[in-house]
């Protein structure tokens, strides 16, 4: 198996799926000749031409809205937001048009919206957001967030093939930092959780970049056996996998890079507090970013994003509980 970066895996998924299925095309700002702000579609326009690698005007509502139109006549658009933050400008089309069409009208909307998200590199308030919880709270769309190169490829293939709108969170800070073996060819990764490391004393739940933070923080925690569950899919949320892990470890720590209130982590905590209550042997702890815009300056940003140290500390507290 070839080794790829997370970013290459995303490109590979799209390139192969576009070769495989002529209904699939990509659209977004500067994705053509320029190959995208992060070069995810580098070389695509040469291979697939400007029709299937569509450079759009600066218009996020336009991108999502026209993608919906193209989807309902049988195409399978993959929309790139230049940064996840800009989805706010296409928010209405996504939550009200794409998300509700199938329930209301029986007409599925087969679009994938790629959101380069997350902070950690001084992107500041508008290039660091993690907006997934907004879409978890908007019925009718699936939400996935890979942490590894292998899952990035497999989840993206699944997303493109899924008949429903799928919001695909790709963490910018993983693009080139994370590498791994990625199977050749096309494969689908299911929208379920993955046990990143087995353990018995405590479970850390995370997704996206925070999986790596969680792994690092609990690698060697005074000999404790810490399970790390990579949620991978937020909608559907793999409730059984979450509850099964709590059943095993009795202790849950949830790590979330997004702003804390009403985040994905809050939903996981609420789930455990309800259906996992009997298995709990300690409070359900969370480590998340406080409810502030992500500050630009490195000392400020580092102070608020969940760090290995904060996760370690919370894990230790829970283990000692």
């Amino acid at each position: 198996m070839p080794t790829m970066t997370y970013l290459q895996a995303i490109s590979d998924a799209m390139r192969q799926e576009m070769r495989h299925d002529e209904r699939v095309f990509v659209m977004g700002e500067d994705i053509g000749v320029f190959g995208g702000a992060f070069k995810v579609t580098d070389g695509f326009i040469e291979e697939f031409g400007p029709d299937r690698v569509m450079d759009t005007p600066l218009a996020e509502s336009g991108i999502i809205g026209t993608a919906v139109g193209a989807a309902v006549v049988g195409l399978r658009p993959i929309c790139e937001m230049q940064f996840a933050d800009f989805i706010s400008c296409g928010f209405d089309q996504l939550v009200n048009v794409a998300g509700k069409m199938y329930y209301r009208q029986g007409l599925p909307v087969n679009i994938t919206v790629r959101l380069p998200s997350g902070g950690g590199f001084s992107g500041g308030p508008y290039h660091s957001q993690n907006p997934e919880a907004w879409f978890m709270h908007a019925p009718g769309m699936k939400v996935v967030a890979p942490s590894t190169a292998e899952d990035a490829k497999g989840l993206l293939v699944s997303a493109v093939r899924d008949r429903n709108p799928v919001v695909f969170l790709e963490h910018k800070h993983l693009y080139r930092r994370v590498k791994g073996e990625v199977p050749d060819g096309l494969y689908e990764t299911p929208f379920t959780a993955r046990v990143a490391r087995e353990g018995t004393d405590l479970t850390v739940f995370a997704y996206g970049a925070m999986v790596h933070t969680a792994m690092e923080a609990t690698e060697d925690l005074d000999g404790a056996s810490v399970e790390v569950v990579d949620l991978r899919s937020l909608v559907p949320l793999d409730e059984e996998a979450i509850l099964a892990s709590v059943r095993k470890t009795s202790k849950a720590l949830i790590v979330d890079e997004a702003n804390e209130t009403c985040a994905a982590g809050a939903q996981v905590a609420a789930l455990i507090a309800d259906r996992g209550f009997e298995d709990l042997d300690g409070p359900v702890r969370r480590v998340a970013t406080p409810d502030i815009p992500i500050p630009f300056s490195p000392p400020l940003e580092q102070a608020v994003l969940p760090s290995v140290d904060r996760v370690k500390e919370a894990a230790r507290e829970l283990l000692e509980y």
Binding site: R52, G65, T66, A67, V68, A70, L75, Q93, Q105, G106
Partner: protein, 360 residues
């Protein structure tokens, strides 16, 4: 690229030169769909008053020519995003009175099976996308339909409707710019009915939006929205251009919302004279006079329409309410069948076999 007028003073003036593309049967059909629209909406309003239509109720009284005339110019393989004053378009595409009345009443057999309400529906099997409330979001969806047609090099056209008020929102602009830039086969029908809810035109824009089309690189054409034949002809021309690669058209249908915004609205804010003035231009009266002059049996047609609505009403009233146990079904689709927009009825004679080859 300049703004044309095909309005009351133009070639499509009432009683003026009728379109050479319409047979008498076509003209009668236009009247029939308008009568159906008005009749169904009147019936629904009664059902609303009887408490059988939940929520709110919107109609297009007085605006029937707009959706009927323009939908009539669309081919089976074209696709439509139909808005809240445009019941006529659904009728032209072949949706039955029963399914529409069932829709209003929230019945299981209504178009959305009670999932969505009142006029928020579209039968995708006949090529219509159900509107969303957020205006004018569907302009972008229609633009996307056209984008797909162009990408696949298909000779098809998309059409959508929206009101004067809707032109103030950003999505109007994004759709117009996108369609103009890519020269997409899409027709935008701006239904200028003088008001957005209670807001008159002069509180919405300084310059009539039809003038804006040229700023996006395509024509804006003002049409008498109370003449179904004028609407048909303007749409037919726009569609022909679109299919020939000529890009989008903005049609501004000049009309008047003769009822309140919705059932609860007594439209106190509308001057009586304005309503009176427009009552004289009633599209049904005009089309009726026109075809009567040409020898059509309008009385029989009216009876036929009433009978169809009566039957549809009975059928709709017999439909069950949806089963509460199904309320949470159908959030995600994971079936095998490809559910995409299908072809609808295209009753214009120009689409009959052979007619196409004549280039109609």
């Amino acid at each position: 690229m300049a703004t044309k007028t095909a309005g009351p003073e133009g070639e499509h003036a009432p009683g003026g030169v009728a379109s050479e593309h319409l047979t008498l049967d076509d003209r009668v059909a236009l009247l029939k769909y308008m009568l159906l629209m008005r009749g169904i909406e009147e019936r629904a309003m009664n059902l609303y008053r009887q408490g059988k239509v939940p929520g709110s109720f919107y109609d297009g009284y007085g605006q029937e020519a707009v959706s009927v005339g323009s939908a009539f110019a669309m081919a089976a393989e074209d696709r439509l995003c139909v808005l809240h004053r445009d019941l006529g378009a659904h009728l032209v595409r072949g949706v039955t009175p029963a399914r529409i009345l069932g829709q209003y009443m929230g019945r299981d057999g209504g178009v959305t099976g009670g999932r969505d309400g009142n006029i928020h529906f579209g039968d995708f099997r006949v090529g219509c996308v159900g509107m969303v409330s957020m205006l004018p979001d569907m302009m972008l969806v229609a633009t996307g339909l056209a984008m797909a047609f162009k990408m696949r090099r298909e000779a098809r056209c998309a059409i959508t409707w929206f009101g004067d008020g809707s032109t103030s929102r950003g999505d109007f602009h994004e759709a117009m710019n996108w369609a103009g830039l890519q020269r997409l086969p899409v027709i935008f029908v701006l239904e200028n009915n003088q008001y957005a809810y209670s807001t008159p035109l002069d509180q919405q824009f300084a310059v009539d939006p039809v003038e804006r089309a040229q700023g996006y690189g395509f024509p804006g054409v003002r049409v008498d929205g109370n003449d179904p034949e004028a609407m048909f002809e303007a749409t037919r021309e726009a569609r022909e251009r679109a299919i020939a690669g000529g890009g989008p058209t903005l049609l501004e249908a000049m009309t008047m919302r003769m009822h309140g915004h919705a059932a609860h609205d007594d439209m106190k804010y509308v001057p009586k004279e304005q309503v009176e003035e427009w009552r004289q231009k009633d599209p049904i009266d005009r089309q009726e006079a026109r075809v009567r002059d040409l020898g059509a049996d309008v009385d029989a047609l009216r009876e036929e329409v009433t009978a169809a609505i009566d039957a549809g009403t009975q059928e709709a009233l017999a439909m069950a309410m949806p089963d509460p146990a199904t309320a949470t079904d159908r959030v995600f689709y994971d079936g095998e069948e490809d559910l995409v927009l299908g072809d609808g009825a295209a009753p214009w004679s120009g689409f009959a076999v052979g007619a196409r080859d004549r280039g109609a």
